[in-house]
């Protein structure tokens, strides 16, 4: 397994496919990502990223948007979001 996630094309339009749902659950105390035989607790940063993965916005636009929203360096956002989305895509929990 490589340490650096492989790059995502800037014009990719990431989206959560059918069968992968980001939901807010009171009883579980926050946001969760539901997938086949998997439940992930989603922290606020992941939620901010995944909410933007609608299949409409391009990857580049999402990164720009997040960099502005979190007032963080673009390269840092790019690295972190690439890792998150590649990890999900590798498990078929995200379409790029």
């Amino acid at each position: 397994m490589s340490e650096v996630a492989s790059a995502i094309a800037p014009d990719a339009r990431p989206r959560l496919p059918r069968g992968v749902r980001l939901v807010h659950n009171e009883a579980q105390g926050g946001w969760v990502l539901l997938a086949p035989e998997r439940v992930f607790k989603a922290d606020l940063v992941s939620v901010a990223v995944l909410k933007r993965c609608t299949g409409e916005a391009t990857f580049a636009a999402i990164i720009d948007d997040l960099a502005a929203a979190f007032k963080a360096p673009r390269e840092r956002i790019l690295a972190d979001v690439t890792t998150l989305l590649r990890g999900l895509a590798d498990k078929r929990f995200l379409e790029l």
Partner: protein
């Protein structure tokens, strides 16, 4: 038995055994030997209430299973009720008993995921293991409908001595069927499977080869398909964290409405189970004696009680400990630290050339 003051988690998953009716007769079936008759099955309204209560408890995913859930004529209404509560719905099916039309209707009502079992990569062997001529073809056909509807598909490949050498071919079949996930589900010995244990038990060499094959296939197919696999119990050194801990992350409702901490729990004679016919689910989760019996760690004996792994594997499986030692509080003998571990090693070496005792209602 201690455990009553243990921290109460909220469950994540509900296994809804809608019926014990099933057209197949798989010898590894984990349903209990005493199956619930049709006359005792919960009706649609009761299942709807159970789902509502489950959602209120914090349950996120419901697994519609059985027997064969497709044997229920009200399957669509049941699945729709689960979806209406906001639950993630997973259909666990043999594919025999679910038509394309039913699957389309289920999709309309929000079905999130389908899991189809396969018994082998070769049709004749697959149908022989299932005890049903034509099962293999039906699974292929339904998988195509699942994929066409863009619902994620998991192929559940139950592995045992008769098919374990074709693991690679079974993963190839899963890929060909369009699955995004394949479970290499080594047979576990509860219910019908316990009865057929020596007929199912793989050899040490087969298990080693299978593990190596899984590693290779994971490298080869990274990003294409997720391959889930765990070491089969009897060939392991460490026990599995059974159901994520007793009364911790999941619960099971039987066709007649009994609520179990795990699907095999009725095999432990001292446990008292409550029914959804008499109690609300939240009440059962928190207060039913069967749930309190092994919740937390107070009930543990040594070596589990002082073990560094006790919060990782929870001492393994209570039902397996009972089945193999007669003591439900004992360390699961799968653990190399268990006094009874050599029994498991002996049983793992028993490969009986005996015909299957097929599951029949």
């Amino acid at each position: 038995m201690a455990g009553g003051d243990a921290k109460l988690h909220s469950p994540l998953g509900l296994l809804a055994e809608l019926t014990h009716r099933c057209p197949l007769g798989c010898p590894y079936c984990s349903n209990p030997l005493a199956l619930d008759p049709r006359s005792e099955e919960l009706d649609t309204e009761t299942w709807a209430r159970v789902f509502k209560e489950a959602a209120g408890l914090g349950v996120l995913q419901v697994h519609l299973s059985g027997g064969e859930p497709g044997a229920r004529r009200d399957l669509v209404e049941i699945a729709a009720a689960a979806h209406a509560c906001g639950l993630y719905t997973n259909l666990i099916t043999s594919a025999v008993g679910i038509t394309a039309a039913t699957l389309h209707k289920l999709a309309e009502y929000g079905l999130d995921h389908v899991q189809i079992s396969i018994q082998d990569s070769e049709e004749k062997s697959a149908d022989h293991i299932a005890g049903y001529q034509g099962a293999f073809a039906r699974k292929r056909a339904l998988a195509a409908v699942v994929v066409d509807l863009k619902i994620p598909l998991t192929v559940n490949a139950v592995m045992h001595r008769a098919n374990i050498d074709r693991l690679e071919a079974m993963v190839a079949l899963a890929l060909a069927l369009g699955a995004s996930r394949v479970e290499i589900a080594h047979a576990q010995y509860y219910g019908g499977a316990l009865k057929n244990r020596s007929a199912l038990m793989p050899t040490e060499a087969q298990v080693r080869r299978a593990a190596a094959t899984v590693q290779e296939l994971r490298r080869k197919h990274h990003g294409e398909i997720v391959i889930d696999a765990v070491v089969p119990d009897y060939h392991a050194r460490l026990p599995k964290p059974c159901v994520g801990g007793w009364g911790r992350r999941s619960l099971n409702v039987t066709p007649s409405g009994k609520v179990l901490p795990c699907h095999a729990a009725e095999s432990i004679p001292s446990l008292q189970f409550w029914s959804v016919r008499e109690h609300a689910l939240a009440d059962i989760w928190a207060h039913a004696p069967a749930f309190k019996a092994f919740r937390g760690t107070d009930w543990m004996k040594e070596p589990c009680l002082s073990c560094a792994r006790r919060d990782l594997d929870f001492g393994g499986c209570r039902c397996q400990a009972f089945a193999l030692t007669g003591d439900a509080r004992a360390t699961d003998p799968v653990c190399h630290l268990a006094p009874g571990h050599d029994l498991v090693q002996k049983l793992a070496a028993v490969q009986g050339d005996v015909p299957y005792a097929y599951r029949r209602l």
